[in-house]
Amino acid sequence: MIELRFHHELYDGFAVDEAAKVYGPYGTMELVREPSGYVVRVTATAEGIAERTLAAELCNYALGLTIEKQGSGEAAV
């Protein structure tokens, strides 16, 4: 299991949630909101997918979506 921490000032909550949903079919995602930010616990379940790669791809997706939302005028929440 890998624990990812997304700071709430840097990542959009909806983007993190969306990223977890997108990569949900490849592993178990546990989302928790903490005062410092959003925590996602990733456990890979799909055959042939490294847990580290899955977590890193989820991070990239969340960052990309956060930037996209910032560009469209939505603030990080």
């Binding site: 700071h7 000032e9 490294a50 890193a56 991070c59 990239n60 960052l63 990309g64 930037i67 910032q70």
Partner: protein, 171 residues
């Protein structure tokens, strides 16, 4: 502490920067340029600082020193771009406002010219400004009414001119 501090390892680059020194949009834009070739993470290790970490994607090679230099360059370039954009936004807004205000004033001037100073309708001898209904339907109805009246008068005249009993002889 410096505005920018980078740490380079074999397959990883970590950049620590002052959050106040660089606009947030510039940080995002700089990070986004690496998203296709690296795994990018943003973090806030301590309040007021932002950490950007780049890691090579699986199967890809990363020249860490070059990536660190490129990230720093990109960060400065995006900050500069953001500053120019902010400085130019007032000028852009004033140009747009001027264009809209002059466009809004122009139609009033033209309409006044057409209508004249007192706002009376302009001369239209050919009836171009009239609608089809005004131009034809109304006239046709008037003409029909006038014809009916003229016909009734003619019948009356003819009836009074006939000698008494003349009509009966003809039948």
């Amino acid at each position: 502490m410096n505005d920018l501090q980078s740490t380079v390892s074999a397959d990883r680059v970590e950049l620590d920067l002052d959050a106040e020194a660089f606009p947030r949009d510039a940080v995002y834009a700089a990070a986004f340029t690496f998203i296709d070739r690296c795994y990018v993470r943003l973090d806030q290790p301590v309040p007021g600082r932002i950490g950007i970490s780049l890691r090579a994607k699986t199967g890809g090679a990363l020249d860490a020193a070059a990536a660190a230099a490129e990230l720093e360059n990109e960060l400065l370039a995006q900050s500069w771009r953001q500053r120019i954009s902010d400085e130019g936004s007032e000028l852009t807004a004033s140009i747009v406002a001027g264009a809209f205000s002059s466009a809004a004033a122009a139609p009033g001037v033209f309409v006044d010219d057409l209508l004249g100073a007192d706002g009376a309708a302009f001369d239209d001898p050919l009836g171009i400004a009239l609608s089809w209904e005004e131009k034809y339907t109304k006239k046709t109805a008037d003409a029909g009414g006038a014809a009916l009246e003229a016909g009734a008068a003619a019948v009356e005249e003819a009836g009074s001119a006939l000698p008494v009993g003349e009509g009966e002889q003809g039948t």
